[in-house]
Structure formats: C-alpha cells, structure tokens
Symmetry: C2
Subunit: 480 residues, 2 copies
C-alpha cells in the first residue's frame, strides 16, 4: 500500500514534470484516479497529498487538485543545445541503426544533434529563392472557398488537379505523362522506396551510381536489398560499359536506380545517346529502371535533356520526382510514374501510407497549372548559376592547393575532392564543432572510394556567414 501510493504519485509527478499535465490543470478526480489505476480511494488520496507536499499540485476545496507549476515539455533547441552537445557523440550508438545503414545513419544523426550556424549539407535553397508567399496566398484562397474541407473525406479533386498540373509541367521536361498514371507521393523518398519495394524482393541486387545520394543506400538496406556500385563520372554520369559488364558477369541485377539529369552529388547529366542505350540495356535484361529526376527542373532548359522516361515505350521505367527542392522544401510533395508496376505501387502506397492530404495538393496544383512554375524555375536557376560560380570560387580560393571541385551546369550541389587523400570524416567532425554542417564523401557509397570528398550546397547566397563558413572549412581542410 505504501509503495502503491508512491508509484501513483510518481506517475503524476512525471506527467507534470514533462508538462503533459500543464500549469493550472486539474488532476482527475479521486474516484477517477481510483478506477483508472485500480487502487482504493484512500490510496488515491495518499498519492495526491504526497504530490501536494512535493509542490506539484494544490488542493482547491471541492474542485480537486490542480497543478501549480509545469516545466516545458520538449527541450527547445538552443536552450538545451549547449549541455547536450558535449556528450552528443557518445550518445549515438551504431547499434541503434542496424538495418538502416549504421554508418550513414550515425553520420546523419550526429549532424542533426544540435542547431547549426551554417548548413552546407542540406540540398535546400535559401527561403528567398522559393515562392513562399504565392503558395501561402493560394492556400488562403482555397481554404476560404472550401470551409468544410477538413471534415470531409478527401474528394480526390486535389489528386486530379495536381496530376493534371504535373502532366502539364512534364511537357516542359520533353516528356508526355498520362495524368492517370501519376501517383502523388510523400516526396521523392517515398517514391523511391515504393518503386524499390514494387520491383524487388529481399536479397535482390540493385545497381546504383557511385557516388550516389545517401538516401538510396538507406532505402536499399532497409528493404534487405544489396547494392552494386557502378562507376559514375562527373561529366557523363553512370558508366554504361561498367553497367553492362556487371549485368553480364555479376549475377542477376533486379533494378537500376539512377539520376540521369543533374545527378546527386555529381551534378552531371547523361548524354542523350547514353540514355537510349540505358533503356535498351535494361529492357533486354529485364531489369527495372528507376529514375530519380529530383533535379530535372533545375536544368537551365529542362526540355533539352529529357528524362529516361521520355523514351520508355515498354513501361520498364519508374519515374520519381519531387517538388521539395524546386518549389517548396516544406510541402513534401513528390510523384511517381510506375509504368507496368503502376497498379502494384498504387496499392502498396495505399497499404503503407494511404493518400496525401488534399489541400496541399490543390495549392501546388494551382501554382503549377499556369506559367508560374516555369517562371519560378527560370529565376531560381539564374540565381543558382551565380551561387554555383561564387561557391566554386570560394572553394578554390580557400581550400588547400590541389582541391578539385565540380562545375555542374545545373543544380545546387558541388562535389569537392581534397588533395593527398585528406579524410573528410575528420573534416565533418571539426566542422560540426564550429557549427558548420557538410556531407562527408563516405555517406555516398558503401565502398571506401570517396573518403577524401565532400558535398557542399550553394542553395544559400555565398556571402556573410556562408562565406566565412567556407573560409573556416578551407582552414580546417588545410590543417588536416
């Protein structure tokens, strides 16, 4: 009995300390506490009295017990960051991430442990590059016209309109997409993960570019698949000779995932002839071709470098794209064209996440239905062109002699190789300590081929804090 009321008091003390029961809130009635916790009324009384003595609650005659003070529920970034940081590294245990790619996960987790001063790791642009105001105005207008939207089951009007708008914008990518075959997803991440789920079984081998976007490596591992890395060049992209060799000599390859336009991290695009060869190669060997076109609209003239999907006659290409880089980082809208796997993927998506919220789809559809999207991309691409040049210059100016950097003609990512095999995992650590986040080369591959590389984003104008961060990085790199 003595123990019981203490345990009970502790339960409520916890709820109060964490803020789940807020300042001024009433505890459940004694009777409710008794029923809820299967204790006698007198135990409930004892517990409340203890809470009172401990200064958690006060009794108001008749009305019951009320919380007298509460602490903030979640440690806000900033407030808790300083004390957190000292032991931030110790607390990250690779064992927590078995099955989601321990090495990449640990690096990502460490990078998010505290608020950064300058983030050069995220593939995201400065707010002023996005049409945030126009999107918000769309949302306000749509909400006024649809007072009951949050009470009703989705009407699929959003789905239909967004599909149409996406099909329309796809024309400017030199590609014809039937709206009915477009599935709106929770970003390109979900598109890629559904695509891989649809075409593979656990244990299958998937060919990927090397280096490749780290998210693909995580998805592959979390689905129990094996990756085989195909050399990829900063000028012409994935080596088809190497891919063909792998197909002929390395056992069954079930799927290829690639980024033919503005590859992440290299920024390169495949020549048109390579694209047709790629399509034929995969068709011939019955290998599913998963195309990640996340940065396709970042091409200065997107229609001049068409996606693989534009050549796909047999439905063997699954096309994935997203607006999270190009239109708005927060909306989480992506899509997928599933080719011959369309129905399966649609059903898979139903099973693992259902439909997308409707208003967001309408907001995006409104923006993409007219010419606003292509005007936006023109403006954004012009600004990114400047920022790329500035970042390249800043790197060449501040980094050690012998540093190499890509000069892609599109996108917001640069790939840097340090001289003398300097290790960028160490640079990552040292930069973190200075409040600067970068992507070390090691997370773009399962092999040890890129440990002297790093990926930097030029999404933000290269001036002020960003510029001085590059200077700091250069110094740290020289000191390695």
């Amino acid at each position: 009995m003595a123990k019981k009321y203490r345990a009970l008091a502790e339960h409520y003390a916890k709820a109060i300390a964490s803020g789940s029961l807020g300042k001024g809130e009433r505890l459940p009635s004694l009777r409710d506490i008794a029923v809820l916790h299967r204790v006698s009324i007198s135990t409930a009384v004892e517990a409340c009295r203890l809470l009172e003595r401990q200064g958690y609650v006060e009794a108001k005659s008749r009305a019951g017990y009320f919380v007298i003070d509460a602490m903030p529920l979640v440690k806000r970034a900033g407030a808790a960051a300083v004390s957190d940081f000292d032991n931030a590294n110790e607390r990250i245990d690779p064992a927590d991430y078995v099955g989601v790619h321990e090495r990449i996960s640990v690096t990502l987790a460490r990078g998010t442990r505290r608020p950064m001063k300058v983030d050069l790791a995220g593939a995201v642009c400065a707010p002023e590059l996005y049409p945030g105001a126009a999107l918000r105005d769309n949302m306000l207008r749509l909400l006024r016209a649809r007072p009951r939207v949050y009470g009703t089951h989705p009407q699929r009007e959003g789905v239909t309109k967004l599909r149409e708008a996406i099909a329309r914008c796809s024309v400017s990518r030199g590609m014809h997409a039937d709206p009915e075959t477009i599935l709106v997803t929770h970003g390109c991440s979900e598109a890629l993960s559904l695509a891989l789920m649809a075409v593979t079984s656990p244990g299958d081998v998937v060919a990927i570019e090397s280096p490749t976007y780290f998210g693909i490596l995580q998805i592959i591992e979390s689905l129990g698949l094996k990756a085989i890395e195909i050399p990829t060049r900063p000028d012409t992209g994935i080596s088809l000779d190497a891919l063909e060799f792998a197909i002929n000599h390395m056992g069954r390859i079930q799927a290829v995932v690639c980024m033919p336009s503005v590859q992440n991290p290299l920024g390169c695009s495949m020549p048109e002839t390579a694209k047709t060869r790629m399509i034929e190669l995969c068709e011939k060997h019955n290998i599913a071709l998963i195309e990640d076109d996340t940065y396709g609209f970042f091409l200065p003239n997107p229609a001049y470098s068409r996606p693989l999907k534009a050549w796909d006659k047999k439905g063997n290409v699954i096309y994935c794209n997203s607006l999270n880089k190009s239109l708005s980082p927060g909306l989480r809208v992506g899509w997928l064209i599933g080719g011959k796997w369309h129905k399966k993927i649609e059903m898979l998506m139903y099973a693992v996440s259902r439909h997308r919220e409707e208003m967001l789809q309408l907001v995006v559809a409104d923006f993409m239905a007219g010419s606003a999207f292509s005007r936006h991309m023109k403006r954004m691409n012009a600004l990114l062109k400047q920022q790329r040049t500035q970042l390249v210059e800043a790197i060449l100016g501040h980094f050690p002699a012998g540093t190499e950097v890509t000069c892609p003609d599109a996108g917001l990512l640069l790939w840097v190789r340090l001289p003398d095999g300097k290790n960028t995992d160490i640079l990552f650590d040292k930069a973190l300590a200075e409040g600067i986040r970068i992507c070390p080369g090691s997370i773009f591959s399962n092999m040890d081929k890129f440990n002297d590389c790093l990926r930097l984003s030029c999404g933000m104008p290269i001036k002020g804090r960003v510029e001085s961060a590059i200077r700091t990085l250069g110094r740290l790199a020289r000191e390695l």
Copy 2:
C-alpha cells in the same frame, strides 16, 4: 524523314489529346522542337503542319503554333463511371498485385472502381461529426501569422507543438508519453509499417489477431513477413492462451500486432488483466509488441481502458495511433512511440518519407492543446453510440433470421455474421452492383474463417440513403 515528322506530330497530338498541352497554349518554337527532339527544323515544320491539318493547332503569324482544342485531362468520376463499370471487373488482374496481398488488393481495387452511392465499408464518420470548421479556422489564423512558411525549411515548431499536444491528450488515455519520443507519421498505416520494418527481417513470423484489420495483412505481405493468426473473441479480444501456445509450439514469433482497445473489426477491448499478461508474455519471449490504438479515443471513457503502452516499462511496446478516424479524415496525421526502437524508427522514417508537412502539424497541435479535442470526442462518441444502436437494429430488422451482429461499446464498426454460411464475397459483388460498398469478411484474414462475415460502418447517421442501403443489403443477403 517522312516517318520522323509523323512520330513527332503524334507526340504532340498525344499531349494535346490528354490535355497536357491545353487549349490556347503555344507549342514550343520550331527551333526548340528541333533541338528537343534532335530533328531538323524542316522536320519540325512538317510536324506542325500535320498537326494543323489534323485540327490540333493553328498557326498565328510570327507567334507560332497554338493548341485549338483540348480534351479534359483526367476522366472525372461520374462522367466516365458508367461506361467504366461494365468492364471494371475484367480489368482487375490479380497478377498486378503480387506481393501486396492479391486477394485483399483485388477486393479493395474493385470496391474503388466507381463512385459509390452509399459507402458502408470505410471506417470514416459523416462530415458533421468532425470539427472541420475549427480546424480550418486554425489553419487560416496560422497562415496569416506565418507568411513565409511555405518557403522555409520546416522549423520543427510544428513537430514540437504537436508532440506536446499528443502527450497531453495521452494523459486522458491513462498513459504517460514523453513528447521527445513521439514520432509524427503519415497516419497509422505508416506507423505500423515502420514499426514492422524496424523489428522484423523478411521471412519472420508475426502474430496477429484473427480477424484483423486488412491493412496489417497487406503490410505484412509487402514486407515479406509471414502472419500467424491468433483467435480473437468479440468480447475479450485476442486469446492469450492461443498466443502462448503458438509461442511455445510454432517456432520463433518475432512480433505481435494487436488492437487491445476497440479492435477492428470486432470492436472489443482486452480486459486489464489480459493486458498485463500480454506485456509479460512478450517480454519473456523477447517478442516485439506493436499496439494499434487507432480507436482508443473512441472509448466512452478512454482513461478507463488504458493502452498496453501504459504498462510498458522495458520499451518493448511500439504504440501506433492516428487522428484520421477521430479528428479529421483528410489530414493524415498519425504517430508512433517506438520504445527501444525509437532511434531506428526515426531514421527509417527519414529514409522512406522524411518529415511531415509543418502547418498541418500546427493546426492539429492547436486543436489538441486545449480541451477542444476531448470535448469533440465526447460529442462524437455520444453520436456514434446512437448510430451503433440504430445500425444494429436496422441489421436485425432487415437481415435474414439467424444473422449475428456485435454490439461493441465503442467505435464505428460492426461485425456481422450471416446464417447458413452465406458467402459475403458474393454479397460484396451484388452490393457493388447496387452502388453499395461493404467489407467482406474474407479480407480480414488469410484463412477461410470469415467468409460468412462482413464489416459495416455506422459512421453515418442511419437514415435516408444509408437506411435504405441496409434494407437492400438485407434483401441481397436473404437472396444468397
């Protein structure tokens, strides 16, 4: 050459016919067409002239070619429904759904082939039961206060506030949740799928209730897992004796998925003693316990029937919940408390779908922070209680003699068993033909145990069209 210009014209004809190039829109310039499709300018000219002769475009001097007519992009529901329906059944091929549970998928696909007059299959309430207006007002207010939100990378303010609000509401479920351990997901579907991904590897065996919610069967199959069905009673829920037997005699069971409160489809809740036994059983055998509490807030006094998670001291329970049934069917907000798998699941979610959109989280957080949510649930539960009674009476009144129906004390789902082994797959077909959608018992199990059962929703008031649909169903059932 002759063939080239025809193929080119066909490409644009397709884009126009499907509406991707809309009425009045300009074709790309001849030069652009030539570059884009790698053809000569004269081929581009030939193609445009052909399109003009075919009546797709008209030339405006100097300005180029413009589309003169366009068809609607997506066949709107309603317009196309009638002609679609005749061959709707033929066009559904189980082979399209291999790996996502062919049988369930085919049934679901058939059920969504055309707009229904009365949907008794969806576990969703009538719009007037949801606080749609309040949610919309929250959204309008939040948008006005945050003009730049759609341009910036998510600030995690939404995440923090929603976690706090969820933790607060969890108290009314008799459970203490640390806000920092709550992961906001894309509905309970994503929560369940992440939970299963985290604790299993392909080939593992997962114990489930029988009958169980069909989505769980789809997720299990799509992850390459095997289900073992544990008998579940409409009064006390999953049989722990059977579960213990299975654990001892059927080889390694990796996880259990269950709905201890207001089970879908049975509506039952486990007794408190069974819950503690379940916790102990799973801890002892090191079996992950995945709890789906989707309908927990539908309990008339939610705190009197606590979730398993409230007893979980070792982090062995993964708690999944969702607001899509209780608060708003369209918002797609769910959450998960991952116990000892928290970090792994957080990283998995990052890999397969990233974060949720922020404004939606803020809207929900605002609603759940105060007492509005519990007032809403009180009102909703009172209405559902009436509707449950009405539906039970309507069923007993119209269905064949010998029909059994559950009378759960919470939720919106009734489980019906027809007499004489009448087959509800046939009933499903006949009802569809009358524009009525039900859930046949066969989709709630991998075994042939429930082919005489069906699940009906009382989310809508039982009057008018709904009432007459029940009458029709009764007639069809009698005619079986």
